[in-house]
C-alpha cells in the first residue's frame, strides 16, 4: 500500500463526543489505571446514546464502593445511596414513576452481599429496573476483602489462605428467581455489553447484567492479575460466549482451564410488578 503522501497525526483535544453524558468537570475520575469501571461507564453512556428513551428519563442509582461512584460521573439524574440499598431505592422510585428508566449500577459486594436480600426480592417481584452488577470478585473500595463473589481459594486481604467459601453463581440465581433478562459480559466485550444494556432498557421487568470487570490494583494484586494486560489475557483465554449455556455450570472459578461463560442467557416476557399493581388498582376500584 502506498502511504507516502499521508501525514496524519493524533489530534490533541480536550473533549470527547460523549462528554454531554458524563460529568466531565469531575474527570479524571477516581478509579485506578486499568480498572474496568470506566469502561462500564463508557458502555452505559453508549447504550444511553443509542437508546430511544430520552436522556432525561434515564436515572442511575448506585450504592457504595468503587462501582458506586459511577452515579457521580454520569450526567443524568443520579443517586448515590447507602451500601447495599440502591435496589430498594430504585424500587421506590420506579413504582411511583413508571415512566422513568431506572438503572442500578453497583458492585458485587453492594448488591449481592450486604444487599442480597433486596436483590432476590426485587427479582421475585419483577420490578422493572435494570441492574448492572459489576463483579470484580472483591470489595475494592474498602481494601480488597473477600465477598460472596470471591472465587473459592482466591486470595484477598481477609482470605490470606484463600477464600474458604464458594461464590454465588449469579446468572443461575437470577434465572432461578425468574428474572426475564439475565446476561453476563466482561469489560472487554464492550459492544456486546452495550447491546445487552440496550436490551435491558427494553425489557419489561427485572434485567440483570453481571459485568466481569478488572480490578488490577485490588483483586488482581492478590491473584496474579496485576495489570490490565493480565485481565485481557484472562478474558481472551477463558471466556466462552454461549447464549444457551447451562447456567448450572456458569459459576466462575478463575481456575485455569475452567471457562468464564458469557452471553445473553435469559430473554423472556412475563408480567412485571407494574402489571401486578394495575391488577390491585382494579380490584380496589381505582381502575376499571
Amino acid at each position: 500500500m502506498s502511504q507516502k503522501g499521508l501525514v496524519i497525526k493524533e489530534k490533541i483535544v480536550s473533549e470527547s463526543p460523549r462528554d454531554h453524558l458524563i460529568r466531565k468537570e469531575r474527570f479524571p475520575h477516581i478509579w485506578c489505571p486499568g480498572c474496568g469501571l470506566g469502561t462500564v461507564l463508557k458502555c452505559y453512556v453508549e447504550a444511553i446514546a443509542a437508546s430511544s428513551i430520552p436522556e432525561d428519563k434515564h436515572v442511575v442509582i448506585s450504592g457504595i464502593g468503587c462501582t458506586g461512584r459511577i452515579a457521580g460521573y454520569v450526567r443524568l439524574d443520579s443517586y448515590h445511596v447507602t451500601h447495599g440499598r440502591p435496589i430498594a431505592f430504585a424500587e421506590g422510585m420506579k413504582i411511583v414513576r413508571p415512566d422513568l428508566e431506572v438503572t442500578v449500577i453497583s458492585g458485587d459486594g453492594d448488591l449481592v452481599t450486604i444487599g442480597g436480600n433486596h436483590f432476590i426480592h426485587a427479582i421475585r417481584r419483577n420490578v422493572d429496573i435494570n441492574v448492572f452488577l459489576v463483579n470484580n470478585f472483591i470489595y475494592g473500595m474498602t481494601g480488597n476483602q473477600m465477598g460472596s463473589t470471591t472465587p473459592l481459594g482466591a486470595k484477598s486481604s481477609t482470605s490470606p489462605y484463600g477464600c474458604p467459601e464458594p461464590p454465588f453463581n449469579l446468572p443461575l440465581l437470577a434465572a432461578a428467581l425468574g428474572a426475564p433478562f439475565v446476561a453476563r459480559w466482561t469489560t472487554l466485550h464492550t459492544r456486546q455489553l452495550a447491546e445487552a444494556m440496550k436490551k435491558a432498557f427494553q425489557v419489561k421487568g427485572f434485567a440483570l447484567i453481571e459485568i466481569i470487570s478488572p480490578c488490577p490494583v485490588g483483586f488482581g494484586s492478590y491473584n496474579e492479575l496485576r495489570e490490565g494486560k493480565d485481565y485481557i489475557k484472562l478474558f481472551l483465554e477463558n471466556c466462552i460466549v454461549d447464549h444457551s449455556a447451562d447456567l448450572n455450570k456458569a459459576a466462575i472459578s478463575l481456575r485455569p482451564g475452567e471457562p468464564i461463560i458469557l452471553g445473553n442467557f435469559i430473554q423472556r416476557e412475563m408480567p412485571s410488578y407494574h402489571d401486578f399493581e394495575l391488577e390491585v388498582f382494579k380490584k380496589a376500584g381505582w381502575l376499571k
Binding site: 460529568r23 469531575r26 432525561d56 428519563k57 436515572v59 442509582i61 457504595i64 452515579a71 457521580g72 450526567r75 443524568l76 439524574d77 443520579s78 443517586y79 448515590h80 445511596v81 447507602t82 447495599g84 440499598r85 430498594a88 431505592f89 430504585a90 424500587e91 421506590g92 422510585m93 420506579k94 413504582i95 411511583v96 414513576r97 415512566d99 422513568l100 436480600n117 433486596h118 426480592h121 399493581e277 390491585v280 388498582f281 380490584k283 380496589a284 376500584g285 381505582w286 381502575l287
Partner: protein, 381 residues
C-alpha cells in the same frame, strides 16, 4: 364513586389510633407507603394496603425495614410524599437511612409505634424507650423533628404535621407514638379540608444551568425530582452545593451547619406543647405520649388534694422545647419527668431546668396508672 374511593370525610369518628394515623397520611398527600410487619404498628400497614390502591397510590410490603425506608426515599426522590411505619426492632434497622434522608435532604415520615424493649422486649406492650434513639440514632451530625401524640386526635394531627414539616425542611420526621396510643380507640374530628394545612416541598423550575441542588443561599434549597430534566446528583458523601462529593473543609462546614440550622433556627415554630395548671405550680410534671394521659389525671387529683401541681405535655420532643420547660423551672420548685423508661427525656429537661429535676420512671411494659404518678408527685411536694 364509592365513599371508600375518597379521603376520610370531614366529621366525627370513633377510631383506633393507628387507623387515624393512616387516614391522616392519606389526607396529607402520602403517595407511597413501604413497610414490614411488626407489632404494634401493623394496623397502619394493613389499613394502607387497603386504602392506598383505592386512591391510586402505592403500597408495598418490603423484605425488611431497611428496604422499606430506602424505598420511601426512592419515592421521595421522585417527588412524592412517602412514609413507613414500624416499632423498636424495625426502627433500629432504619437508623442508617434516617441519616441518608437528612443528608440527601429527601423528606420522609417515619411512624414508630413504640413497644417495650430492649431487643424483642414485649411486642404487644407499651414502652417509651426510643426517645433518645429517635434523636441520635443515626451516626454523624444532623437534626430532625420528632413528634409524640398522646391521643387518637393528636396522632392524626401530628401525622399531617409530620408530612408538612418534612416537606418544608426537607428532613426525616418521626412520629413517636406508642402501643397504647396506637391501639386505643378515641374520638377523632376530621376538619373541613380547607381548614387542614397541607405543605408541599418548594420546587425549583428556573434555568437548568443555574440550579444548585444544595445551594446554601437559603436554609432549605428548592427541590427537583428525578426526571425533571435537571440531571442532578445526590450523594450521601459530604458534598458541595452542586451535590458533588467534596473533601473541602469549607463545603463540609457549610453543609453540616445548614443541615443542623434549618431545624435549630426554626425550633420555636416546631415546638408544640400544652400546659395544664403550670402557671402557679410548685411542681411541674413534664411528660409526653400515653404517660401524659395518666399524668393529667394525677395532676387533677393532686389539685383536688390541694397540691399546687401542673404539667407540660410535650407534643414535640425534638427539637426539645426548651423555653416552656425553662420558664416552668423558673417558677416551680421542682420539675418531674414522667416516662415509661428508666430516664431519657429527663436529660434535655435537666439541661435547661433552673430547679431540681427528678424522674418518675415506670419500667417498660405498661402505662403507669395515675396513682403511680400521684405518688411521685406527693413525694416531690
Amino acid at each position: 364513586m364509592s365513599s371508600e374511593l375518597r379521603l376520610l370525610k370531614p366529621g366525627t369518628y370513633f377510631m383506633m389510633g393507628n387507623i387515624a394515623c393512616a387516614e391522616a397520611a392519606l389526607i396529607a398527600g402520602c403517595e407511597f407507603y413501604a413497610g414490614y410487619p411488626i407489632t404494634p404498628s401493623n394496623e397502619i400497614a394493613e389499613h394502607m394496603s387497603r386504602r392506598m390502591p383505592q386512591l391510586g397510590r402505592h403500597f408495598i410490603q418490603m423484605e425488611d425495614e431497611i428496604g422499606s425506608i430506602v424505598a420511601v426515599l426512592g419515592a421521595s426522590a421522585a417527588g412524592v410524599k412517602a412514609m413507613t411505619a414500624t416499632s423498636g426492632p424495625g426502627f433500629s434497622l432504619m437508623m442508617e437511612t434516617i441519616g441518608l434522608s437528612a443528608m440527601l435532604e429527601l423528606p420522609c415520615v417515619i411512624i414508630d409505634v413504640q413497644r417495650a424493649g430492649p431487643s424483642t422486649g414485649i411486642p404487644t406492650f407499651v414502652g417509651q424507650g426510643d426517645v433518645m434513639q429517635a434523636r441520635w440514632g443515626s451516626h454523624g451530625d444532623y437534626e430532625l423533628v420528632v413528634y409524640a401524640p398522646s391521643a387518637v386526635q393528636e396522632f392524626f394531627d401530628l401525622t399531617i404535621e409530620a408530612f408538612n414539616t418534612s416537606e418544608w425542611l426537607r428532613i426525616p420526621v418521626v412520629v413517636l407514638s406508642d402501643e397504647v396510643v396506637g391501639h386505643m380507640y378515641g374520638r377523632l374530628v376530621v376538619p373541613e379540608y380547607d381548614k387542614i394545612k397541607i405543605v408541599n416541598r418548594k420546587r425549583y423550575n428556573g434555568p437548568k444551568d443555574q440550579y444548585l441542588p444544595y445551594s446554601c443561599e437559603a436554609l432549605v434549597p428548592p427541590f427537583v425530582a428525578a426526571g425533571d430534566g435537571y440531571r442532578i446528583h445526590m450523594t450521601g458523601l459530604t458534598h458541595d452545593e452542586r451535590g458533588y462529593p467534596s473533601l473541602e473543609i469549607e463545603d463540609s462546614h457549610k453543609l453540616i451547619d445548614r443541615l443542623v440550622m434549618k431545624v435549630r433556627k426554626n425550633s420555636k415554630h416546631l415546638w408544640k406543647y400544652e400546659t395544664l395548671y403550670a402557671d402557679d405550680a410548685d411542681v411541674v410534671v413534664v411528660t409526653f405520649g400515653i404517660t401524659a394521659r395518666s399524668t393529667e389525671e394525677a395532676v387533677k387529683r393532686a389539685r383536688a388534694e390541694g397540691l399546687k401541681v401542673g404539667m407540660i405535655k410535650l407534643l414535640t420532643l425534638w427539637p426539645f422545647p426548651e423555653d416552656p420547660v425553662k420558664i416552668a423551672s423558673q417558677y416551680a420548685r421542682r420539675l418531674l419527668v414522667a416516662e415509661i423508661n428508666m430516664g431519657q427525656l429527663i436529660h434535655p429537661v435537666r439541661e435547661v431546668a433552673e430547679c431540681p429535676v427528678a424522674g418518675i420512671n415506670y419500667p417498660v411494659g405498661y402505662a403507669p396508672p395515675p396513682e403511680y404518678i400521684l405518688d411521685g408527685i406527693r413525694a416531690a411536694v
